[in-house]
């Protein structure tokens, strides 16, 4: 059921895009379809973004729609909240997720609370795009995965795509959503689906089936997981870069895994999780973020509360370590094949 049941496809031409191209196309489509969409952020205008996600958009849609901002995440998010109150649909870019913290008060106390505190008088229909995650030798300030800070906030939605096809459809849905959405883009897989075997050659997206991205508008609803692989031996709950790493490790080990790419952490597709766990009885949770109070803890608690009598082994979490992301020891930190492999062995031996 790779993506298709939940999608509305208006165009069918088979083209292969990497994730940056898919994101760029989603932004282009939304700028064209909705005159209230505006894009702003550091270096997003003339230059087209440090990762090129907004390349060509200012030239095509004008400086009133796509523009550079001061280096002030507080100002970017704060202005976006005001623009949303006016009636615009802002899509601010925070250059790296690691830089989002100066904007947190505007996100947590303002954007997330506005609909509630005004009883629907005002809304904050923002989509905050931001590259996140490591495996790129970005050191501690260009590698973090802070999604759990946002999933903990009532009023925010958190979306993380794992393929070009999903990136486009989810981003369009996020922009059209009337709630504030944090859209974290796993930058390690912008250009190819990283397997986690960092000593092996990098694969480009064009060899991956989910790099086929239809032209034109389509959306993937928020809150629906993607069934990456059907299996019986164990359930893998994961998202972002780790979808591909977990998939590769299971393939190498010959494990018949049932792999769910969650795609949206809040709202979470609990029905898909329950169905899978009830089938396999064994659960592996994989994320790159630090372990303590990570989103894996929430997933583990939910599985335990709701599927306890189906479990045949304790839930396993594979995560980053509770340290800052170290520059020289990138691969020692990264939850790669060895860490995942050990957890699988443990789960299957119980």
């Amino acid at each position: 059921m790779t993506a298709s049941p939940d999608t509305v496809t208006q165009a069918t031409a088979e083209r292969r895009l990497n994730m940056i191209e898919a994101i760029n196309e989603a932004l282009d489509i939304m700028l064209t379809r909705d005159p209230d969409v505006v894009i702003m952020g550091e270096d997003v205008g003339y230059f087209g973004g440090v990762f090129r996600a907004t390349a060509g958009l200012q030239e095509k849609h004008g400086k009133n729609r796509v523009f550079d901002t001061p280096i002030s995440e507080c100002g970017i998010i704060g202005a976006a909240v005001g623009m949303g109150a006016y009636g615009l649909r802002p899509v601010p870019e925070i250059q790296f997720a690691d830089y989002i913290y100066p904007g947190l008060d505007q996100l947590i106390s303002e954007a997330a609370r506005l609909r509630y505190r005004s009883a629907g008088d005002y809304i904050a229909p923002l989509t905050v795009r931001s590259p996140f995650g490591g495996g790129i030798f970005g050191g501690q300030t260009h590698s973090q995965s802070p999604e759990a800070l946002f999933t903990h906030v009532a009023g925010l939605k958190t979306v993380i795509p794992a393929t070009p096809y999903d990136a486009k459809g989810l981003l369009i849905a996020a922009i059209e959503d009337n709630d504030p959405v944090i859209f974290f883009e796993p930058k390690r897989i912008y250009n190819g689906p990283f397997s986690g075997y960092y000593d092996k050659p990098v694969e480009p997206w064009k060899k991956h089936p989910d790099s086929v991205v239809p032209e034109g508008y389509y959306r993937i609803p928020l809150g629906k997981a993607r069934h990456v692989r059907e299996g019986e031996a164990l359930t893998v709950l994961t998202y972002g870069t780790m979808v591909h790493v977990a998939q590769a490790v299971c393939a190498v080990k010959g494990v018949d895994a049932d792999i769910l790419d969650l795609r949206t952490l809040v709202p979470l597709d609990i029905a898909a999780i329950e169905a899978s766990v009830e089938k396999t009885g064994r659960v592996l949770i994989v994320h790159e973020a630090t372990r303590t109070s990570g989103f894996g803890a929430e997933l583990s608690a939910l599985v335990t509360e709701r599927c306890f009598y189906h479990l045949e082994a304790p839930v396993e979490r594979v995560t980053g370590f509770d340290t800052p992301y170290p520059h020289s020891l990138d691969w020692a930190y990264f939850p790669g094949p060895v860490r995942i492999g050990e957890a699988i062995d443990k789960l299957l031996s119980e």
């Binding site: 100002g75 505190r117 005004s118």
Partner: protein, 431 residues
Amino acid sequence: MAESAKPADSNRAGLALHVPEPTYRPGDRVDFAHIEVPPAGAQPRPDESAQPAQMRELAYSLVRVLGDDNLAHGPWNPRLSPDTLRTMLGHMALVRAFDERMFRSQRQGKTSFYMKCTGEEATSVAASMALASDDMVFPSYRQQGILIARGYPLLEMINQIYSNRADKLKGRQLPIMYSSREHSFFSISGNLATQCPQAVGWAMASAIKGDARIAATWVGEGSTAEGDFHAACTFAAVYNAPVILNVINNQWAISSFSGFAGGERTTFAARGLGYGIAALRVDGNDALACFAAAEWAANRARGNHGPTLIEYFTYRAEGHSTSDDPSGYRSAQEREEWPLGDPVARLKNHLIALGEWDKERHAAMDLECAERVKATTKEAEKNGILGHGLHHPFHTMFEDVYENLPWHLEEQAAQAIRERITKFGSERPFG
């Protein structure tokens, strides 16, 4: 704790930390002679398209219109009609009567909290009267005068303060954190200065759309220390946004005097100059000066000449809120000695000096305001007061977190309702 630092050696003097201290503390005799009050009418009024650097001195002086003779003086005189002046006075008197009554309601246990704006009425009433009714305002928590000037129903204000079943905000917000899209009044946040970059963003959106509406925001002098204020100034300057940044310098941020926001070093208006924003420092107890400054800034914004930062120099005559007792940190004499007087009295005396008002009519108006507020309070109490059970249904607690309820909130809503039924036998024991 760090080991005590090594003492300064013979060649280097020891450093000393300056921790600001207000001039007067409880019991001190107050003398405000050090506050420079220029005569009314003395300040030049530049063209609305002036470059900020051409009007630097206006960030350090004080724009004043109403003189000691109760007449309007100089180029900033907005030349308002007697009818407009009476309307302005009426709004300010109503705000004061409203504050008095709501303060008492809190003391009577009808709500949890209230904040008066006594002494600062002109900075919201007169300043907002200079705007168009559909210009968007992003207030802080002491701008009830804007709602009253815009004709927002008193009944809705009190329903909100009582968090009762008629409260349009469904009992979710602390008292006085109003919101009214219909009145172009943004939802008030309890977090300080967050409204500043939002106002700039709204103004940018208006400019993006080629709209004619402008935005204005109000922030206390203490809150200008927040990063949001500086982000707002940067964005306003960078995009030449059609926005007015009002800083209400009422001297006190709860118990911290303006020195803790940098007020010992320069004026708050002068903050604008560093950003290249036109800046005015205005007698905030002079309703005509407040109106004139706001009108100047609104014209400037509407003419695409950019933002203005206005410091309204005023005095918080009462406590920060019902939870505050200022006698614990400042001299009670400050209020009496404040050199810029009382804004309601000054406007009243101006109208009397013009022959357009008299003491009898003023007394009658005050009585009418008090009666109107009292009657409206009684009306609001029919919808309930805080904690007496006439609240919104429990399910509303879970609505508006998102546009639609996700499964986890549906489950939690069911739990909350179950808990009520377990405790009281029904979901709404009082209503």
